[in-house]
Symmetry: C2
Subunit: 338 residues, 2 copies
Amino acid sequence: MVTIKDVARHAGVAPSTVSYVLSGSRKISDETRAAVRAAIDELGYHPRASARTLRRARSEVLVLAVPREPGKYRAVDGRFAIDIGDTARELGYDLLLMTDPDGVRGLTRVARSGLADGAVLMAVRERDPRVAALRKHGFPAALVGHGDESEGDDPPWVDLDWAAAAGLAVREAVAVGHRRIAYWASADHEFAARNGYALRGLAGAEAAARASGAELVVRRSTVDPEALRARLAEVLTARPRPTALLVQHLIPLPLLLEEIAALGLRVPDDLAVVLVGSLPDEAVPRMLPRIELPVGRMAQAAVRLVVDAVEGAERTAGDHELIAPRMADGPPVAAPDG
Amino acid sequence: MVTIKDVARHAGVAPSTVSYVLSGSRKISDETRAAVRAAIDELGYHPRASARTLRRARSEVLVLAVPREPGKYRAVDGRFAIDIGDTARELGYDLLLMTDPDGVRGLTRVARSGLADGAVLMAVRERDPRVAALRKHGFPAALVGHGDESEGDDPPWVDLDWAAAAGLAVREAVAVGHRRIAYWASADHEFAARNGYALRGLAGAEAAARASGAELVVRRSTVDPEALRARLAEVLTARPRPTALLVQHLIPLPLLLEEIAALGLRVPDDLAVVLVGSLPDEAVPRMLPRIELPVGRMAQAAVRLVVDAVEGAERTAGDHELIAPRMADGPPVAAPDG
DNA sequence: AACGTCAGTCGAATCGATTCGACTGGGTTC
DNA sequence: GAACCCAGTCGAATCGATTCGACTGACGTT
């Protein structure tokens, strides 16, 4: 195992000199630097992360907390994990994936052991115990998504502007002539948990409908396939029937499309379908007009926010980034009576 | 920042005694142990990971190498990342997510810096440079998936038995009466890369078809939507036309289903569709008969293999786990002429 | 020639936990 | 009562890099 001493001996200098060559924090003559560099290459030296971390009290590692209900998997979490890993690496940090079902215990352990310097939290709930635990330890954090309402000392967060996104979907539909529009909102349990995106998305759709004078038929989604089919059938067999369906709860999208087909309706001729908050690069959503969840931008913003906090930029608590929605490239919203 | 010295002072013992209480590696009297425990709780002490790692030369961290083509995202990677994180934690390890596009550089850095003790490699290619790099550093590793052929000193791996899986799909179709079966194999570029699952899956399907006397029509898939539609249309408009379609390339599944519908064929009445290697818990696949990729079991096996290597169990190189396929719970394969 | 300056380098302390050998005092043995 | 043993605890060395103060010559100044 090659250490800084081996390099120093090999180059004929003191260990501290090697360290200064590596960090560049003191002037070193060109010859010495060259000799040290050569020794490093020849011996294949790489500093021990643990020794450096111990001394500097900085690990250059971030932790991503993915809340996990055993047996359940949300595709969006995996997607964010990859993108956040990419971004962290670009800023010089490695990413630790924390999939503790509890979350508080795992995060506390990582924070107190100094394994990571900061945390990105996915799927933050209102009054999330993880946020409280991290604050108690003064551990830098950034949130992906934000709760119902934020207090002054909440960690910084990034989120899609769900109200604007739903509103945009409504306006796009109205713009091509739809007057009776169905909004397929988040699932019951998401409203029960007072998830920010669920509440804000629905509110945004309703506000936009009021402003444009269109009639909005709202249904909450559910994870129960039978109930889902029944609710959708009820909406789509009403007379007069909505000519557009805006879908925010995308997990059961294939089921919805299947039920639409089973009711004898063709998309988009009989029913325009618009997606709100779909993941990029997924095959089914790409066939439809949609507002995508900007995973890449959100990942970047979240990592930047926590890195700022770690590296002690000016006060960042209360800082946040609300991303404006836009229609993704793809098919336009179809006009009614097509 | 609470250290072991603070705990020792608070409990009126030496730091080494605190360490022994924590590790249990020496006898400690009940009173002393209780006093130390109390001090730890009271002060909220947690050992510094860096100090422990420095001393023990063991970090209790594994690294997951996810190869990454910039801008591309494979849902299967995110899914494995979460499950591997779960399993690692159960065995006492944290998981570092490495999404370096290069892979070799990132892994080398992690290995030589002692940031992690072992690696799990996703999407291993034949003669993968990452495997060579890790071997050079004597870094423990386990692979998810395996290459075309393995040499004696390859790292241990885990994989679905793709030949058996494809064979099982063929036999299931034959068992309910299908005689003319189409096999939608992996994409061109996967064969070009000589990916193990692509080669073995196809070979397994062909062998099972020969053995059962059924006629097998093979087409390779592609990522180009237009070419995909054309190839599928050609297969499904042939006379006589196949009555079953076995799909191994699942990424464009929605496109395939759409094209099938566009050709006026109903699933499963006109065409039985069977999936080979679908991800668990995804909505579209669950509506069809299928052989799932056992992500959980594979994650468990991969982590166990690398942990065995890290903890220096007997020689594990060449060790591996080939998982037998089975039909997932769900709709049965439909009979032809239904 | 004496002194100050400065670039470049070195030595030693330090981060916090682990671990080995050594020590202590109460109990056992003959 | 001397010799021995053992359970339980302590002290000090150690892991490898960083960083601060101090040192050394070479050079410039007067």
